[in-house]
Structures are given as structure tokens and as C-alpha cells.
Amino acid sequence: MKLTFPHMGNVYIAAKAFFEELGQEVIPPPRNSKKTLEIGTKYAQETICLPLKIMIGNFVESIERGADTILLTGSCGPCRFGYYSVLENNILKDMGYRVRFIVLDPIGEGVDKLKKNVYQLFNAQNIKDVLEAAKIGWQLIKKADYITDLSNRKRAYAINSYEVDLIMDNYFKEVEKTFGAKEMMELMDSTIDKLNRVKIKQNFSPIRIGLIGEIYTVIEPFVNLELERKLGHMGVLVEKSLTPTIWVEHHVKAFPFGSKLERLKHELAKPYLKTAVGGHGLETVGSAIYYAQKGFDGAIQLLPLNCMPEIVAKSILPNVSKDYSFPIMTLIIDEMTGEAGYMTRIEAFMDLIKRKRRTVANG
């Protein structure tokens, strides 16, 4: 079994080390690039949302490198993601690829199947093995997220923000050369060490922006045109409403009750939206209020074109913005997104926030 999985931000870093540690042969797809998107756009339906197109690109590039088994999480929420595994399986079949799909569906879809898949993937004989393995995986995910977060913070405060880019680019290059959890942890620790040594500005209070919206576009930097980096270079501190850590805490660790943070967001969203609308639509509304209450300067909502749950959230956000006097901008992304127009909007949004800050400061 040569295992691969789709890209989503830094998840591959943890997943690669984790499965290698468990004795699986892992072939992560090459980092997302224009070529990935080109393959995806060519073979996926035109009107499907962008994440599926990227995933098809990932699978094809991995298969070309020798992968024969694809690992994917499932979902039965009312969003097209629940249909991804079936659709992707069919697309790959049509293309003539024979690969095996392992879909980790939520427990509600049947305990036995999930158990069988997990035992096989984790090379586990009993529940103790599974828990033992999960512990390592959880540590890797948390640490990978910590690095992403740290790099965002450092970029905003750094005297030379491009220094952070150099460290991160080097980290991504080294990731490919490591094997197993131990080596990965070492690389992560040395990267954290390097990031901590970046010289930062004193007495500087950066603009704080919350990134909210659809999970894939929030987490995957290639898809959101490296928004975190762009904002970081402008001296903006970015916090993401969704990260792999937050996802695991809500869906796996705190199962079946859900994490405190996500429940708080549902509660906050209630005056505007009483029920889940699929995907993370409800959480987006809650996150906007959450960041407004935490004293952030603004929020940017990201969504792939024609993402239904986020469109619902988008139409609610102007009211949130008005009630909390909290600037929110929406950026819609698909394969046609022009980077120049995107930059103009981000710059104008930052000008808006800076002017708002100045008037608040002057009384």
C-alpha cells in the first residue's frame, strides 16, 4: 500500500510523519502549484467548487509518483464535500486510474467500517495501538499548526518580514527529506528555534485580522493566494478561525459534544442564524462575532466560488458588520481569480481599517 492524501495547508507535514511512523509507505503529493490546478480544472466538472479541482490535481500528481491508495476524510453534512470521495473516485476511474479509496466517514455512517479502516491504516491490532498512534498524530498536528501560527505572528512583528519567508520555505523543503515522527519533530523544533530568533519591532501594535470562511480556502495558502503572507508583510497579525487543530478538537477529541470554542461560536451566531446551513456557514457567522468581541480590527471571509454555506453566511455578515461596527470583507476565489484585483481589495481594506483606527484614537 502506497498511501497518499490531498493537500490542505500544513496537514501533509503531520500526516507524512505520522503514517511513516506507523510503517506505511507514504507518497505525499508535490506542493500545490499551477500544474496541480491545471490538471484539476481539466478533469473535474467546471462548476464544482475549487477544493475538488485541487484534490484531483493532487491525486494525479501522487499517482504519477507511484501512489496506489488514497486516504480521505468523509462528511455527511449538507455540503458538497460529503460527495467528494464518490465523485473523485469516479473521475479517477474515468481517467483510467485504478486506485483504492479509503474514506474515513463520520462515526454516524457506521462504526464497523470506520474501525476497520482505522485499524488497517494505523497498522493496529487493538484499541490500545490506535490510541497510542493517535497521540503521536495529535502532537504532530498541533506542532505543525503552532509553526504556521508562529510564522504569521513573527511576520507581522518582524523588522524584515521576508526573513520569516526564508525560514518557512527552507522548512517546507526539508520536510520532504525527513522520515518518521522523530525526524519531523526535530525539524519542527529547529524551525521554531529559528523563527524565535527573528528580530522583531518593539512597541508595535499590529492590525489584527481574523480569517473566516470555508475551511479549505482558509487553511490552504496556494488557494487563497498566500493571503497570510501578504497580510503579514503589511504588518498585519492574522488569526485563522479554522485550523487542523481546531478541526480535530471539535470533530475527534471532543466527540460527540464538540469543542468549547466551536460551541461558543454557535451560541454567538444564534441571533443571526439559528441552525447549521452546511459546511462551516454557521461557524463563519459565529467567528465574525467572536473576532469582533475579541477586539480584532476586522475580518476577511474566504470562500470558493459557488460554496453554498458560505454564501448564506455572506448575506448575513453585513448585519454583523453593522451591529458590531466591525469591518468585514469577502473574497471569493476560483481558478480565474486575478491576483491584481485581489491585492487592490486587500490594500483598500487595510487603508479602511487604518483610517478607522486613527479616528477612534483621535476621539
Binding site: 521576508y162 508583510h233 471569493i332 484585483g341 491585492m343 490594500e347 479602511l352 483610517r355 479616528t359
Partner: protein, 326 residues
């Protein structure tokens, strides 16, 4: 020698250059077609300026528009600002009480919502160019009328036809259909104006609270037919400022003036830029599968700028990081 601030707005369709004095009075304004060769047009524009009013002292330069980074490289700007902010600054300078700015240019349209003199919200057209200058230009040509007569023609209409304005392609075929049915030019022109305004309000202005006073600027503001259609659709007065067509450049000049308060010397590279020869070269980087198209601008043997790469491998070679934001 007279002293001025220079504002440059390099847009997709037009390049505007203005000169403004300390009192923010505009002394010179020129509107050129960019025609896809911004560098030549910039040089030509500045040459034109020198010929008309002679060499003057430039106190500061502001650049805006989609070609703002290029303008900065060629001319040397003290401030490089996006067009949304530049338009808002110019609008507020014209009338500090305005609460809405409608701006329709060659290829994009924007709405800027202002409350108590601060921009609180904005939007730009995202998917469709129906309702922008280039589209109107094309349809005027199809109707066989000069674009400058378009507005006055529309005003003569007694019963405008209804044209589907949701999409530029459909609007065009619907308009041809109405022509074939034998409708007169006035009614079709007015129908197009109404369709464009409808499109603007439902696409760009969607969900925004449009309050008076409303300023209408950008090249399309010259079209009195569109202005009238906005007034009818909103049931409000719409103001078109005198310098409606160069508001972006004025905004850039005002921002340059602000910037120069904390600066001693302007970055303006002088009128010698007219005699310089710029070479632009594009190449594809083969470093990874992104295959970025990198653009390089040279002045003789000196590389002035490189941009277009995702990773910064080429742009960082210059040692000027600001360009990476482009």
C-alpha cells in the same frame, strides 16, 4: 518656477496625469488611452506636460490604478496607493460630506461607502464587465454612434426598451435583437443605460446602503444618460464633480502631498526619464511547477524591477521588497 504635486493613475483603459498646487487646485490634467503600452504612454504623457507648461518643480508624486507599481518604477513615486482609497480621498476633498461614491471606469466599477468622512465599506465588480466603460464603448460602436453622443441620445428616449443587463454577452445579443425589431436608437441607448445601472446596483452595490450625497466619478460619469438612469433608479440626486475623469490621479496627488509632510525629498526621478530607454523582458521561470511569468524592466544595463514570481526568487534579487506586493 511653479511647484506642483503630480498624480498618476495608470488604468487598464486610460492613463491620467494631473498637476496640483499646494491649495489642491488642479492646473493640468490629461487623459490618455493606455492602449496596452503603459510605459510609452507614461513617457508620452510627461513629455506632453513639459511641452504644455514647461519644466516645473515637482514636490511629490502619487501613483494609483492597476499600473501603479509600474508607474512607480518608471516615474518614481512617493506614495503608491490602490485606486479605491485614491478615489475616496479625491471624492472627500471635493465634498467632505459625501456618503457614497459610484465609480465606473474602463474595466472595473466600484462603490465606496463613506460615513462621517471615513471609508466604511467598498466593493468592486468581480465577475462581469457589463456596466463598465469598455462595454459601453463597444455597444456605442455597434449602434454606430459616437460614445460622446451616447448620453444625450439616451435622454431623448420616450419609451426605453428593456435590455437584459446581467451579462455583457447576453446584453449584446439582446440589444441586437431589439435593433432587429426596429426600435429606434434613442430607446435602445436609454435601455442600455438602464440595464447597466441595474447591473451595477445588483452586482456591485448589492447589500450596500446608498445614501446621499452621492458622487459619480470615473470615465463613464461623462455619460449623462447613465447619470440620469442612476438618479431614476435610486430616486436620489447624483453629483458629477468637474474633474470626474481624473479623480483617481487627484487622490494620488493629495496622498503624495500628505506623504511629503514627513519627507524631505521626493522620489521623482526627474524629467530626464523622457530620454531613458526602458526594456521590458518577460520570461518563464523553470524553478518549480508554478512556472511563474517573471517580468523584468531594465534601463540600459540596470535592472529596475522584476516581479511576477510567487516565491520571491527573482524580485528579491533587486533588494527592493516593496515590489513583491504587486
Amino acid at each position: 518656477m511653479d511647484k506642483y504635486y503630480m498624480g498618476i493613475d495608470v488604468g487598464s483603459v486610460s492613463t491620467n496625469i494631473i498637476l496640483m498646487d499646494e491649495e489642491k487646485k488642479v492646473h493640468y490634467k490629461k487623459y490618455f488611452r493606455t492602449q496596452g503600452k503603459p510605459i510609452e504612454i507614461l513617457k508620452e504623457g510627461i513629455n506632453n506636460l513639459v511641452e504644455e507648461i514647461g519644466e516645473v518643480e515637482i514636490l511629490g508624486v502619487g501613483a494609483t490604478g492597476s499600473g501603479r507599481y509600474l508607474a512607480n518604477i518608471i516615474v518614481g513615486a512617493d506614495i503608491v496607493k490602490n485606486e479605491i482609497t485614491a478615489h475616496a480621498v479625491a471624492g472627500l476633498n471635493f465634498n467632505p460630506h459625501i456618503r457614497t461614491i459610484i465609480e465606473i471606469g474602463g474595466q472595473d466599477s466600484k462603490i465606496v461607502i463613506i460615513r462621517d468622512g471615513i471609508v466604511v465599506d467598498f466593493a468592486m465588480n468581480t465577475v462581469c464587465a457589463a456596466g463598465t466603460g469598455s462595454f459601453l464603448d463597444r455597444q456605442a460602436a455597434r449602434l454606430g454612434i459616437d460614445i460622446s453622443d451616447f448620453g444625450s441620445l439616451a435622454l431623448k428616449s420616450k419609451s426605453p426598451v428593456r435590455i437584459a443587463g446581467r451579462c455583457a454577452v447576453f446584453a449584446e445579443s439582446d440589444m441586437i435583437h431589439k435593433q432587429q425589431l426596429g426600435h429606434n436608437q434613442y430607446d435602445i441607448a436609454k435601455g442600455l443605460c438602464d440595464a447597466l445601472v441595474r447591473n451595477y446596483l445588483s452586482n456591485v452595490g448589492k447589500g450596500k446602503e446608498i445614501l446621499e450625497p452621492i458622487l459619480f466619478q470615473g470615465g463613464v460619469a461623462a455619460n449623462i444618460g447613465i447619470k440620469k438612469a442612476f438618479e431614476e433608479a435610486l430616486n436620489m440626486d447624483v453629483i458629477v464633480p468637474d474633474n470626474y475623469d481624473v479623480m483617481g490621479a487627484i487622490g494620488a496627488a493629495i496622498l503624495a502631498q500628505e506623504e511629503m509632510k514627513n519627507k524631505r525629498k521626493t522620489n521623482f526621478r526627474g524629467f530626464e526619464i523622457l530620454n531613458m530607454d526602458y526594456k521590458v523582458k518577460g520570461f518563464e521561470c523553470n524553478g518549480c511547477s508554478n512556472k511563474c511569468e517573471v517580468v523584468e524592466i531594465r534601463e540600459k544595463d540596470k535592472v529596475l524591477a522584476r516581479y511576477g514570481d510567487k516565491c520571491g526568487k527573482w524580485s528579491s534579487l533587486i533588494g527592493d521588497n516593496s515590489i513583491k506586493l504587486a
